[in-house]
Symmetry: D2
Subunit: 341 residues, 4 copies
């Protein structure tokens, strides 16, 4: 069976695993601080060209989103996201569980538009009394987005400008950041992201780790007593080494970026294969998630050999499906896929 349904079907990259093996019997202190978390933080600060970055490692994406959003917002504030945003739709209400509203704006090609945020925020600064409404306190963007699209540097800067004009934080969910950065269509580097956003996370779970996300506060703006609030959310890992060692490995010799490049090379090959076979795009994604239109009869046949994600019903005879590449995708996988298309 071929696995293209998502980018987290395998464990971790062999180099990451090796570091876990090598360090396994060392005695290390519990929780968030040990020599590996500290080394990993230093490497990430360098990669981001952001010496003052404050970094915290968490186990997963929804957990990271919930912790960042709920600790950076004031109680009367909500977070702005598109109607497709992961926090808006696929986190089982984790943001609302923390007491905050997700203020939806329409997705344009999967993305938040600066103009929409400005329009929303501006009304809170005008003559009208909005004291019975939820104040926008943060903008959430995912990069790549839920439909695989990417923000340009100009787009992200425009959103940041609006955020800072209206006292909102800009938060970037980088669950698949490694893949976005490696896209040939991207003009954003990790340094740009560290400079433009207020806080973002570097996704490990989908990019080479068995679990783990590196949360980066870029403006010396980690909330006071953040570790206590993480503990309060049940999100403080007892053996923080598991996260520190992995990120230390991922940021050694540019491994994280190389894993992104592999996925993107494979994504481009996959696109060429589907194009060659005459399939149409459902979304035209520049990153590792690819969306194609399948005839239902073909879809059934293919499902006997390949696992992919049924994305959306298009009409009674067609369905859109998602195929993901990852750090682990090989040319052999793609050749095998090609044979079934």
């Amino acid at each position: 069976m071929l696995h293209f349904q998502c980018d987290y079907t395998k464990g971790c990259h062999p180099a990451v695993l090796q570091r876990l093996i090598d360090t396994n019997m060392e005695d290390l202190p519990g929780y968030d601080v040990n020599c590996y978390t500290e080394s990993a933080k230093e490497k990430i600060r360098k990669a981001c060209n952001c010496p003052e970055a404050q970094i915290f490692f968490m186990v997963g994406g929804t957990q990271t989103n919930q912790n960042v959003i709920s600790t950076m917002l004031a109680p009367y504030e909500g977070v702005v996201a598109t109607n497709l945003g992961h926090v808006a739709t696929h986190e089982a209400g984790a943001i609302e569980y923390s007491g905050h509203k997700v203020l939806e704006v329409p997705a344009h090609d999967g993305k938040v538009k600066a103009e929409d945020v400005k329009k929303l925020a501006a009304t809170f600064y005008g003559d009208d009394n909005h004291s019975h409404m939820v104040y926008p306190g943060m903008v959430y963007v995912s990069h790549p987005t839920e439909t695989g699209t990417l923000y340009t540097k100009a787009e992200l800067e425009a959103i940041a400008d609006v955020c800072h004009q209206y006292n909102m934080h800009l938060y970037l969910d980088g669950a698949r950041l490694g893949y976005g950065l490696a896209s040939p269509d991207s003009d954003l580097t990790i340094e740009d992201i560290a400079r433009i956003t207020d806080v973002f996370y570097i996704g490990g779970t989908k990019v080479g780790a068995i679990c783990g996300e590196a949360l980066v506060f870029t403006k010396n703006n980690m909330p006071d007593h953040f570790v206590t609030m993480v503990k309060q959310h049940g999100a403080l890992l007892a053996k923080g080494r598991l996260l520190g060692v992995q990120f230390d490995a991922l940021f050694t010799d540019d491994l994280y970026f190389k894993l992104g490049q592999n996925a993107m090379e494979k994504a481009q090959k996959m696109r060429a294969i589907f194009e060659e076979k005459g399939y149409e795009y459902h979304y035209n994604s520049p990153s590792n998630q690819q969306f194609f239109v399948l005839e239902n009869s073909k879809m059934k046949e293919l499902a006997e050999h390949v696992v992919f994600e049924r994305w959306e019903v298009i009409d009674e005879n067609h369905t859109a499906a998602r195929f993901c590449t990852s750090w682990a995708t090989t040319d052999e996988d793609l050749e095998a896929l090609k044979a079934f298309l």
Copy 2:
């Protein structure tokens, strides 16, 4: 440096690590269900002699406590625990964060006393109107307790009787369960615990895993849509394999129980060493956490070679300190410790 400060200074047991290595490149589905979680569940059901047990794997103890307690309680209910209970004191308010009060009863030798629970619960069933008070909906016990003590079968059954008389759940926090079960002073088996309690967790983080706890609902009483609520709490691991593989290894060939036995053998040797050297007990613990009284001058000297936990100031010249054994403690470690005492 010798490490006796806690039972989670090392990674995972080599056999557990080996299973992670062996399965690393397999393609597995995300989240809570895969062949390893299913295999581990089956083995745990057998070990507990509880074929109907519903099992869920989580990353850590505070997370597990928060998820169990908040999903099993009605909104108007609180959880009863001793004033030393982990949920009462060392989880940064994780239970209150979920909206529930911890109703404290005094610790007797670290333990909840059935009589105290009965006294508390009975008032809610009498003539008085308690509608302005928090109803006791669950009793939380840890086994071993925070001071290393163990419930007898009779004590646990007495608490269970009161719980069921007053419609409360009995929940056992087994962060160190493996060590408690292996104590020569214990008359409780894992089957007993599954039979007596309504829900408990088998601690992995402190007993051979790099992370992970196996939550066991013993009475076909897992809350509806539990997985959605876990997701909502930010506690659903994307690569559930990490937990499934480890618990599958821990429950193969009784490894979990053997790890407990090692810690207990080493704890007894440690006790003999301290006794031989003339130290006094602070608490007389039958499990892997041992508490001794140190003269402050000795404590300083020892701290140059051994890491231990300062537990409590006794007087201006004496301090109580905690020394833990674990699955990883060796005779060599103890010999080295002896030389410094």
Copy 3:
């Protein structure tokens, strides 16, 4: 100055006030139960032709919405409302504060459409795994709606059918119920509403009381320990007599319904006046909130004599404005208004 900005600018109806005066020095028990709350409940049960109705009095609308929604939903559920719904936009996130998401559907003429709810709910019962999404557990409708429109009996029944097919509660916010019931365009009686919905509230604050809403559980479905949860929300009034006495007065001699009729007669006169003066409708509302288009120059002039609510900017020269009638509106008020138009 004339006051048409809303329907809560005055205190309470003189007959309601008289009952407060008459009972003021009586000794009555605290909180929710006294002879007046019990008498008021009995009268409401009769008015609703719903002998099994369970009734609870609360101080205000947002408080009532928050208490009903958060106590009737399971933790993993959200409430469906239109994007204009009061709970979605004008309660400062009170629903999210209680941990639940508001699942928005588009407003059609201010109303929820049964088809939209069905489409949303049905996906949770199909093949797809929605365990990472918020389940719809309740539908919230306001009647009259935020734009003054009214559900027909057929529309409300269609929504109820979908709700019950998919195990959702149907909740009707009747902040202005008295006005809706008295509208000549309405085919819904209070008995119909009690029969069709699972829970609704009869608004007092906007219809003759100085404060207070009567929450009616129509299907013997008041959550267990509701009074304790109300207390927990800080919403249990110490002197419940204040609510009981007022509702007892409002449901004596059909006062509540007569107050509705006055507002509706005055609303129709107001419509005739605006029509006669050549104004256009912004929304064509059949209830006591009326929406007209004003030229900005006229709006400024009018604002010197009349208080009304600026609703929405239409274009650079025109603004929509809201004018409300109420139980207290007199023919003299309307004549005076006419003179300024």
Copy 4:
């Protein structure tokens, strides 16, 4: 039947009622700001000799406690109270519902002791790592306390000193403040309380109002967007006039203080009567709540004519009972009571 069970069995003082009658048909804006709230605030500022005080009116005590505590605390902080504190025991978990822990210290004669707070707070500033514990962020005192006792000026100042040394707020719950201020045993004035505390509330519900508490932020420290957070808690009254008018009346011609004096004169007479009849004190309370020991046979007999609160079982033949005086207690009430003793 005579009513001594609590101090809230009647409506409001006639002068307060008269102001509600006089203003009933005036048109006033909704929510928290109108001419009467503003006038009442100004009078309270003067009474407190605190020109910068920020004042907000709320409906009830638990609501006020929940709103103050949850908006002034950081998410990682809890509130310190005695084990008898209203917030600790009789608010159905309203503080925990808002996500915060109540950190209990022992009650000494019903009161918080400065030394206990210091001991608790100091540990968070020492060498130990308390990052897994709930930080004390506020001290809650009630004055009079739940057992009728009163803080001396020196005691309150000592607590304030500790609070400010350790960055905690001092909050005083004045549900019965009027009675405490009028006690001949009290050396605290309302100006003292405004000066010493950071925030306190002046109880109206129990001292002459039909509902309402005046929350006073004394140090220009009202949380930003407080009105929005109050709305979010469901606690913003639509017709704020109800609270403004009442407090305006209560703070006209020292009515509030005179009501306190009446209750205290009657309490002293009541004490004399009970003493004369040979009853013993359960607590020796200097305020309007009086606690006596009754023989059970006498208690039964008395209960046929007098309503009082059974406080605590003392032994099989004796019960402690609470008898309250209030603004409404008359000499005739006491004579009648005397006849039954």
